[in-house]
């Protein structure tokens, strides 16, 4: 009896295994391109570049370990340090500018205004354009000879000066302005989503308590749109590290190296100056910066999930 039952059990187990193989064959085949892409590109290529930053690779990759030589060379390089500084300055102004202006736009659009769709369409419109187009546009708009400066002077204000794009101390900020112009619409969309997810009761309470609107929007609302803020910061921060096209189109790093950025430095050392090892160290720095920028969002989401798992507080 015992013998038979164990045989049956074994039979069931075999069919189950058979069944489950058939069941999982299709999904795994379907996911194969994704699995391949993740393993080869997102893991493989990334690790390769990180590794190469510890080699003496010049124009062709040389996979012999050589320690931190490229890293010390990179951080001794004045141009790299300048470019890193520009990335942080650009990032800080770009993120803060987009957050403040994006929040303001969302708040004003959320005042039950007429033509809400129109305003939203206008504010988000630049985001449809590429950074290359954005750069070409703003380069022309801010051209000291023919652009905005001349237009204002023509109106009679002859002393008006706005030649930042040609000024090596100010050129970086013109890229910030163009960047904000292109990206702030996204922040507006995310903030608007955040504002509209706030419980109706909160609005009622603030109304009943007679809290003035500006207080509501500076003290009550911001903590409630933290998810929108963190998402925006992660997206904008990653964008600031990636920032390449906009610089190329607008100033090409100039005047001099006044708007040079790490992404441009890395591309040049990869393709023109053939020092792959040095470029790899630069790219790895960019990767680490991106991780640092995205970390708060990831940590916050993890914390939220844990809190939810524990039950409502």
């Amino acid at each position: 009896m015992c013998h038979i039952s164990s045989a049956i059990e074994q039979m069931i187990a075999t069919t189950n295994r058979h069944f489950s193989l058939r069941r999982w064959l299709a999904p795994i085949t379907a996911m194969a391109p994704a699995i391949l892409a993740v393993l080869v590109v997102y893991v493989g290529c990334l690790l390769w570049t990180v590794f190469v930053s510890f080699t003496d690779s010049r124009s062709i990759p040389d996979l012999a370990w050589s320690g931190f030589g490229q890293w010390t060379r990179l951080y001794a390089d004045y141009r790299w340090r300048t470019a890193m500084g520009h990335m942080f300055v650009f990032g800080a102004f770009y993120i803060v500018g987009c957050l403040v202006l994006g929040y303001l736009l969302a708040v004003f659009v959320d005042q039950r205004v007429r033509g809400e769709d129109f305003w939203r369409t206008v504010f988000l419109c630049p985001h449809a354009l590429s950074f290359i187009v954005t750069g070409e546009l703003w380069k022309w708009y801010l051209d000291p000879e023919f652009g905005l400066q001349r237009s204002v002077r023509d109106l009679g204000w002859t002393g008006f000066t706005f030649d930042w794009i040609a000024d090596r101390h100010m050129a970086l900020y013109t890229i910030v302005i163009a960047g904000i112009w292109q990206s702030v619409g996204v922040v507006m969309v995310l903030m608007l989503a955040g504002l509209r997810a706030i419980d109706e009761d909160i609005w009622k309470v603030t109304r009943v308590d007679g809290i003035p609107p500006w207080r509501v929007y500076t003290s009550v609302v911001p903590p409630m749109v933290v998810p929108s803020i963190l998402t925006s910061v992660a997206l904008l921060g990653a964008g600031a590290v990636k920032n390449y096209d906009l610089v190329i189109a607008m100033t090409d790093g100039g005047p001099g190296i006044a708007t040079d950025v790490p992404s441009k430095f890395v591309m040049e050392y990869l393709f023109e100056r053939s020092n792959i090892g040095l470029a790899a160290a630069g790219a790895t720095t960019m990767l680490l910066t991106t991780i640092a920028v995205a970390a708060p969002l990831v940590a916050w989401q993890w914390w939220q999930r844990r809190r939810r798992a524990r039950g409502p507080a």
Binding site: G44, L46, V113, W181, L190, A193, G194, D245
Partner: protein
């Protein structure tokens, strides 16, 4: 995170304060003044692009960049499209236009199809390691291309695809996959699992459920994904520059070559006409698709 639905919902229906006030109190006036000023900030650069593209060079040298063209002169527009010199070739930006079309169409089709399958698997057929795979993909959304570019050149070269159209399409698809997968996964996660279970009970298999049940239900997110990927791949510069090869440079790369050329006197009207032509495809997509574009941003914003 909640809010995807709220993004597009209008407040007016549920707002406790009732119908919109029509009277203009000073506060209301201030709101409209702020919105108007913001609109000027956003629209002026686009306006000067259109205006400059339709002016003649003497008019550009002579008058304000903000003024409308005195006469609509199509010369610069036509030059930019078909005769402007980019590098050594004088065939206009249209060469780049067709290159971009050839890159964008297949990469949209492939990336959306792949994203749909991935999202479907990750929502309903969660095998062991699926979460890790998805986490790695999400991570990939943020990472700068610079870290992948060099080894990827080696891989595409070994496959015989470097500097060719299939190569640049492949690279586009690889980098679009995470965001596409994320969009479809989040969408499928909102569908009731009972639909899937009922189909399983009725004996439908993996592909049958995907093609007959999930795809028809996924129409809204397919539209969002197509808009997103078409805009993103049209607007790409770096991948096209590195992987497309000289013959297939996308429109953005051609545009930058044209505008940043240092030889000869610059024809700003031609530059701006070419810029406008490059901007036109995403702008048309944007204005035609309307809210779907904004929905893509909400869906593409990484959420838990």
């Amino acid at each position: 995170m909640s809010g995807t639905a709220a993004t597009l919902g209008t407040r007016s229906r549920t707002h406790p304060a009732g119908p919109r006030p029509w009277r203009l109190s000073p506060a209301r006036l201030g709101i409209y003044l702020f919105l108007g000023a913001a609109a000027v900030f956003f629209l002026v650069p686009i306006w000067i692009m259109v205006a400059t593209a339709l002016k003649t060079m003497p008019e550009i040298r002579g008058g304000s960049v903000l003024l409308p063209p005195s006469a609509l002169d199509p010369t610069a527009w036509l030059n930019a499209w078909s005769t402007a010199c980019i590098g050594l070739e004088c065939a206009g930006i249209r060469v780049g236009f067709w290159n971009s079309v050839q890159i964008v169409v297949p990469s949209v089709v492939l990336a959306v199809a792949l994203g749909a399958v991935n999202g479907y698997c990750l929502s309903f057929w969660r095998f062991r390691g699926a979460d890790t795979l998805f986490a790695l993909m999400l991570f990939g959304i943020f990472i700068p291309y610079q870290i992948f570019v060099f080894p990827l050149i080696g891989i595409t070269a070994r496959l015989g695809l470097y500097g060719k159209l299939p190569g640049v399409v492949l690279v586009h698809v690889v980098f679009a996959m995470p965001i596409m997968t994320l969009m479809f996964r989040n969408y499928f996660a909102t569908l009731p699992i009972e639909i899937f279970k009922a189909a399983r009970v009725d004996g439908a298999g993996f592909w049958r459920i995907f093609t007959s049940i999930m795809m028809p239900m996924a129409k809204p997110i397919i539209v969002v994904a197509v808009i997103w990927q078409a805009t993103a791949s049209w607007n790409d510069y770096l991948l096209g520059l590195v992987f497309a090869g000289r013959e297939h440079l996308p429109m953005t790369a051609q545009l930058n070559l044209l505008v940043s050329a240092e030889m000869g006197a610059h024809e700003y009207n031609v530059d701006m006409a070419a810029t406008l032509q490059t901007a036109l495809v995403p702008l048309v997509i944007y204005f035609v698709s309307g809210k779907w574009f904004a929905r893509g941003i909400a869906a593409g914003a990484v959420k838990g």
